[in-house]
C-alpha cells in the first residue's frame, strides 16, 4: 500500500475486477488467486480462455500455473532479482515507452545504472528461473499493451515487501502500461474491508482519505471538525505495536482480530500480553487471544449490521442487516460509540449512515459518496469520487498519474531476514487455502469446510521427505528458531525442493509460532513468506491418535 502511494499516488488496484477478462496478458506474482480470491481467479480463467497470455511467478505450483504460458518458479524472497532482470531486458531491448516516461514520470535516470548488474543470467543463479524464460516473459510483457499485473501477499509479506512493490511499479512505468482499461498494477486485497480500513484512516500516519497526520493543514481541519487538539506525531504501525506490547505499549484495544494466531512470532507476543496492564477485545467468537483479555465485548457479525465494505477495486458497497445479533451482542459501531462516550468523548452519531457521511465530508477522495448515491447508482461507487456529479472511477490514472508524476524507485536486492542454513535447511512460507479463511474462527465452525480440510498440514517435496524418512500423512514437527508445531506431512511436488509451505488457519498448529516478526521498513508488514525451518518425523507413539487417513483432503494438485 505505502509503496504504491509513493510511486503512483494511490494505494489500490489501478483497474477493476471486470477488466481482467479483457486483458491480453496477465502477470500474476505472489498470488494464489484461485484459492485466495476465487472470483478474480474466474476472471483470469476467462481471459486465458479468450487467448490472453498468462505469466505466473510463484515458488509453488498453483492452480493457475497449470494453465499458464510461463511459470516462473522462483526461490522465495528473490522477487527483486526477477523483476529487476525483467526490467533489465526491457531496457536492453529498447522496449521502454520513452514518450510515457518523459510526460508522466520522474526519476527514470537513476534506473539504468541500478539495473545493469541484474542480467537474466545472474538472475537465474539467484532465483532459479531460467534466463530464457525471464527474457521471454519480459519481452511479452513489454510488447503487450493490455498487460495487467496482479499481486498479493507473496509480494508484500517480506522484510523487503515495499522494494518488491517498487520493482513492480518500475516495470509498469517504464512500459507505460497504466491509465487505461485492463492495464496496470493491481494489489488484490485479502480481507473484505482491508481497503476500507485504510481508506477510513485506521492507520498511524493517515486520517481518512490518505491525509497525513503530520500535515499541519490536515491536522487543523480535523481539529476543527472534531473539536479537540490532535497529535501531529505519527503513531506506531501494527508490527511495532505488537513488538512493543508489554514494553512501551501497556494497554490495547483489539477489534475483530485474533492477534495470537494472525501475528508473527506469537510466543514473543504472548509474553508481552502477559505484561500489559489492560486489554479490551471486541469480537464475535471467543478466540486464542481472549485468555489475555480484561474485557470482552460481544459483537454483531456482517449479517447483523449495516455499513459499507470497500473491495479491492475501491468499490464502496453496502452491507445490510438481515437478522438480529445473538443474545446481547451489539454492532461494533454501537459499542465503539458507547466506549468513546464512556471515555469522555462527545460522539454525536446516530448510525452508519451519518458516520459514513462525516467520514466522506472531510476526505476529498470520497466526497461524492453517500448511502443515497450508493443506492442510486446501484452497484456501489469506486473512489475517487469527489462530487455528486461523478459516478466514480473504474480505472485510475486515466488523465495523468494521481501523484502528478509516476516515481521510479530503483531498488537493490536485499536478502530475507532469515535464510536457510545447516541447522534449519528448509525455507518455510505460509499462506491461505480455498477452504479456510485466516484464523478460521468462521470457516472451521461451518458444517462442511472442516470435512474437506480438517487439520493442519505441511507441504514437503518428495526428495526432502525421503531424506527425512517421512511418508505422506505422517505426523511431523516443524521447527524454527522461534517455536515448534506438530501437524501432518503432505508429500507434494507443489513445493520446490528445499521449500515447505503451510496454511496458517489452524489454532492447534499455529504457523505463526514459527514465523519471524521482522517487518518491512516502510509498512511494518512481517515476513510471513520466508523463514528458516526444519521438519522431523514424529515417532508413532507420540503422534496424536484417533483421526483417520480418509479424512485427509488437503487438495494438492501435485500429489505423488
Amino acid at each position: 500500500m505505502a509503496g504504491l502511494v509513493a510511486t503512483f499516488g494511490a494505494g489500490a488496484m489501478t483497474n477493476s475486477i471486470g477488466e481482467i477478462r479483457d486483458a491480453d496478458l496477465l502477470f500474476v506474482i505472489g498470488s494464489n488467486t484461485t484459492e485466495a480470491h476465487p472470483i478474480i481467479g474466474m476472471e483470469m480463467k476467462q481471459a486465458v480462455k479468450r487467448g490472453a497470455k498468462l505469466i505466473v511467478a510463484d515458488p509453488r505450483s498453483i492452480w493457475l500455473s497449470t494453465i499458464a504460458n510461463w511459470h516462473l518458479k522462483l526461490k522465495p524472497g528473490t522477487d527483486v532479482w526477477l523483476l529487476n532482470a525483467m526490467a533489465n531486458v526491457i531496457l536492453t531491448e529498447g522496449l521502454v515507452d520513452e514518450e510515457f516516461i518523459a510526460q508522466n514520470t520522474e526519476g527514470f535516470e537513476a534506473l539504468p545504472e541500478v539495473l545493469a548488474k541484474y542480467t537474466p543470467e545472474e538472475a537465474e543463479r539467484v532465483t532459479g528461473v531460467p534466463a530464457a524464460e525471464i527474457r521471454e516473459t519480459a519481452l511479452e510483457y513489454a510488447k503487450t499493451r493490455k498487460a495487467a499485473i496482479c499481486y498479493t501477499l507473496g509480494i508484500t509479506e517480506h522484510s523487503h515487501g515495499t522494494d518488491n512493490v517498487y520493482a513492480l511499479s518500475n516495470l509498469v512505468l517504464m512500459t507505460g502500461h497504466l491509465g487505461d482499461a485492463s492495464m496496470g498494477l493491481n494489489p488484490l486485497r485479502g480481507q473484505n474491508n482491508v481497503q476500507g480500513a485504510n481508506d477510513t484512516g485506521a492507520t498511524p500516519i493517515f486520517y481518512p482519505g490518505y491525509q497525513r497526520v503530520d500535515d499541519p493543514e490536515v491536522q487543523a481541519k480535523y481539529e476543527d471538525a472534531w473539536g479537540v487538539p490532535l497529535s501531529p506525531e505519527p503513531g506506531l504501525n501494527l508490527n511495532e505495536m505488537m513488538k512493543e506490547t508489554g514494553k512501551s505499549i501497556r494497554g490495547l484495544f483489539v477489534m475483530g482480530e485474533d492477534i495470537v494466531i494472525s501475528e508473527p512470532n506469537v510466543s514473543r507476543l504472548e509474553e508481552g500480553l502477559n505484561k500489559v496492564d489492560f486489554l479490551v477485545l471486541q469480537d464475535i467468537f471467543p478466540n486464542e487471544t481472549t485468555r489475555f483479555a480484561d474485557v470482552i465485548f460481544p459483537a454483531a457479525c456482517f449479517a447483523e449490521k449495516d455499513g459499507v465494505f470497500v473491495n479491492s477495486e475501491r468499490r464502496m458497497q453496502r452491507v445490510r442487516k438481515a437478522v438480529e445479533p445473538p443474545g446481547q451482542a451489539r454492532a461494533d459501531w454501537e459499542i465503539l460509540l458507547d466506549l468513546a462516550r464512556a471515555a469522555g468523548a462527545s460522539f454525536k452519531h446516530e448510525g452508519p449512515r451519518d458516520i459514513f457521511a462525516e467520514m466522506a465530508r472531510h476526505a476529498p477522495k470520497f466526497a461524492g459518496i453517500s448511502y443515497e448515491r450508493i443506492e442510486e447508482l446501484g452497484h456501489g461507487i469506486q473512489w475517487p469520487c469527489s462530487d455528486d456529479d461523478s459516478a466514480g472511477t473504474t480505472y485510475l490514472h486515466e488523465g495523468g498519474i494521481l501523484r502528478g508524476k509516476g516515481l521510479f524507485e530503483p531498488v537493490e536486492y536485499r536478502p530475507s531476514k532469515e535464510l536457510a542454513d545447516d541447522e534449519y535447511p528448509l525455507v518455510l512460507s505460509t499462506g491461505r487455502t480455498l477452504y479456510h479463511y485466516n484464523a478460521a474462527t468462521q470457516t472451521r465452525r461451518a458444517a462442511g469446510l472442516p470435512v474437506k480440510q480438517p487439520e493442519a498440514y505441511i507441504e514437503l517435496h518428495p526428495r526432502d521427505a525421503g531424506r527425512r524418512s517421512i511418508e505422506d500423512g505422517d505426523w511431523v514437527d516443524v521447527l524454527t528458531r522461534r517455536g515448534k508445531i506438530r501437524c501432518r506431512a503432505l508429500i507434494s511436488k507443489q513445493v520446490q525442493r528445499g521449500c515447505i509451505w503451510m496454511p496458517f488457519h489452524f489454532g492447534e498448529a499455529r504457523a505463526n509460532l514459527l514465523t519471524v516478526d521482522e517487518g518491512d521498513e516502510v509498512t511494518g508488514t512481517a515476513e510471513y513468506k520466508v523463514c528458516a525451518a526444519e521438519v522431523r518425523r514424529v515417532t508413532s507413539e507420540l503422534a496424536p491418535k484417533g483421526e483417520g487417513q480418509e479424512a485427509f483432503y488437503p487438495g494438492s494438485y501435485y500429489r505423488e
Binding site: A197, P204, G251, L252, F297, E313, D338, R445
Partner: protein, 365 residues
C-alpha cells in the same frame, strides 16, 4: 456493444444489432421475453432446451434464438400460434418425468420449468414416464446434492463448471432419456476436481442441483424467504450476495438459512460466488458466538457483566493506562473485517478520546 453491423426486424420492430449478437440478445434488448431454460449469459449458447425457438421469415423450421446470429435484413417472429403451440407441447413433455405438483417440486429453489409451464398453460396431465436418469446418492460431500428427478439435462451446470469455474468436475453422462449429470467414475465431488463453488446450484433452473446444508434443508421453500442483498465478508473481491432469511426463525430474530447469488452481470462478481461465500455462513448462528459482555474480576476469571458495567470498566482501564504511562502507551488494533464506519470510529476514538495515533488495522501491508 461493439459497432452496429446490421438491422433485423423483431415482431415488426426494426432494431440494429452489433457484432456477435444473437436473435435472443436482440429480442431481450427489445423487451421481448423469449423463454429459455438452458441459457445463461455467462455461457456459450447451447441450443439444448428448444424453448427459445422462433420463426425467421424464409426459413421453414423454427430456429433457436439463443444460438442464431442476427443477420442483416432478417424478419423474426418471437411469438405466434405455431410457436406457442410448440412451447406448450415441449413443456408438457418436460413435465412427464418431472415432479408433478409445483409446490412439491419447489420445496427448495423455485422451478423455472414449472413457472414457464404455468405461463404457457402446458398440459400437466400426460402420463408420467418412469425415471431412467441415474442419481449419485452415495456422494458424501456436505454441500451439493443432485436430485435426478428434477433434472432436465439442460447442462447449465456442467457448462458453468467447464466454462466459468473451469474445473470440469461434473459432466453429462448417458444417452437419451437416461442422460444425467455425473462425475468421472460417478465419484463423490470430494474426489473430483470440484472446488465446491456451488455455481451448479446457482445456475440450475429446476432445483436439481441443490444444497444439502442442514440449515437450508430444514428451511421453508426459497420463495418464502426474505432476500437481503449484501457484500460477502471473506476476501477482498466484495462479491454481492443475497442472504436468504427465515424471518420467523430464532423467535422472530430471523435466521440466515441460505445464500444465493445475484443475476449474471452484477458487479463486481458477475453473479459468481466461491465455496466460502456460498456455504460458510452457518457460523452466524453458531452456539459459540459471544452473547454477553465479559470482564475479568479480581479472582482472575472472566465473568458476565452488564453492558453498562463492561463499558465503564473498559473505559476506566484504558484511561488508567493513559494516566500511568502516557497517551502513546495505548494501542488500537482495528479490523479489516469490520465496516468502513467502524474503522472510522476506531481511529476517531483513538485520536479524539485517547489522544494517540497508535491505531492500525489488522491487515496492514
Amino acid at each position: 456493444m461493439i459497432a452496429k453491423t446490421g438491422e433485423v426486424t423483431v415482431d415488426g420492430v426494426k432494431v440494429e444489432f452489433g457484432q456477435g449478437e444473437t436473435l435472443l440478445d436482440v429480442s431481450n434488448r427489445l423487451g421481448r421475453h423469449v423463454p429459455t431454460l438452458c441459457h445463461d449469459e455467462r455461457l456459450a449458447p447451447a441450443g439444448a432446451c428448444r424453448t427459445c425457438l422462433v420463426e425467421v421469415e424464409g426459413v421453414r423450421r423454427m430456429v433457436p434464438a439463443c444460438r442464431t446470429p442476427a443477420s442483416d435484413g432478417q424478419k423474426v417472429t418471437t411469438a405466434n400460434e405455431r410457436i406457442d403451440k410448440h412451447r406448450r407441447l415441449l413443456l408438457g413433455l418436460y413435465l412427464t418425468d418431472h415432479p408433478a405438483g409445483r409446490s412439491d417440486c419447489e420445496d427448495g429453489a423455485p422451478c423455472e420449468l414449472h413457472a414457464m409451464a404455468a405461463n404457457y398453460e402446458a398440459p400437466t396431465d400426460w402420463t408420467p414416464i418412469p425415471l431412467t436418469r441415474a442419481g449419485r446418492s452415495e456422494d458424501v460431500n456436505p454441500y451439493i446434492q443432485f436430485r435426478e428427478d428434477r433434472c432436465i439435462a439442460c447442462a447449465r451446470c456442467t457448462r458453468y463448471c467447464d466454462e466459468v469455474e473451469g474445473v470440469n468436475a461434473i459432466t453429462l453422462a448417458g444417452r437419451g432419456a437416461a442422460t444425467t449429470i455425473s462425475t468421472v467414475d460417478s465419484e463423490g465431488l470430494f474426489d473430483t476436481t470440484c472446488e465446491l463453488c456451488g455455481g451448479c446450484v446457482a445456475v440450475c433452473p429446476t432445483g436439481a442441483m441443490a444444497e444439502k446444508m442442514p440449515l437450508t434443508a430444514g428451511a421453508p421453500p426459497e420463495r418464502e424467504l426474505q432476500k437481503v442483498r449484501t457484500t460477502c465478508n471473506y476476501c477482498g473481491v466484495g462479491c454481492q450476495m443475497d442472504l436468504n432469511v427465515d424471518t420467523q426463525a430464532s423467535d422472530g430474530k430471523g435466521q440466515v438459512v441460505k445464500i444465493t447469488s445475484p443475476p449474471p452481470g452484477t458487479p463486481p462478481s458477475d453473479g459468481n460466488l466461491c465455496v466460502k461465500g456460498r456455504f460458510a455462513y452457518d457460523f452466524v448462528d453458531h452456539p459459540d458466538r459471544l452473547k454477553v459482555p465479559l470482564i475479568r474480576r479480581e479472582d482472575g476469571e472472566l465473568h458476565e457483566a452488564s453492558w453498562e458495567e463492561a463499558l465503564e470498566f473498559a473505559a476506566k482501564g484504558l484511561l488508567r493506562v493513559q494516566q500511568d504511562h502516557g497517551k502513546d502507551a495505548l494501542a488500537f488494533v482495528s479490523s479489516s473485517r469490520c465496516t468502513a464506519e467502524e474503522n472510522y470510529l476506531v481511529q476517531k476514538m483513538a485520536r479524539v478520546a485517547f489522544g494517540t495515533n497508535n491505531v492500525h488495522q489488522c491487515a496492514a501491508t
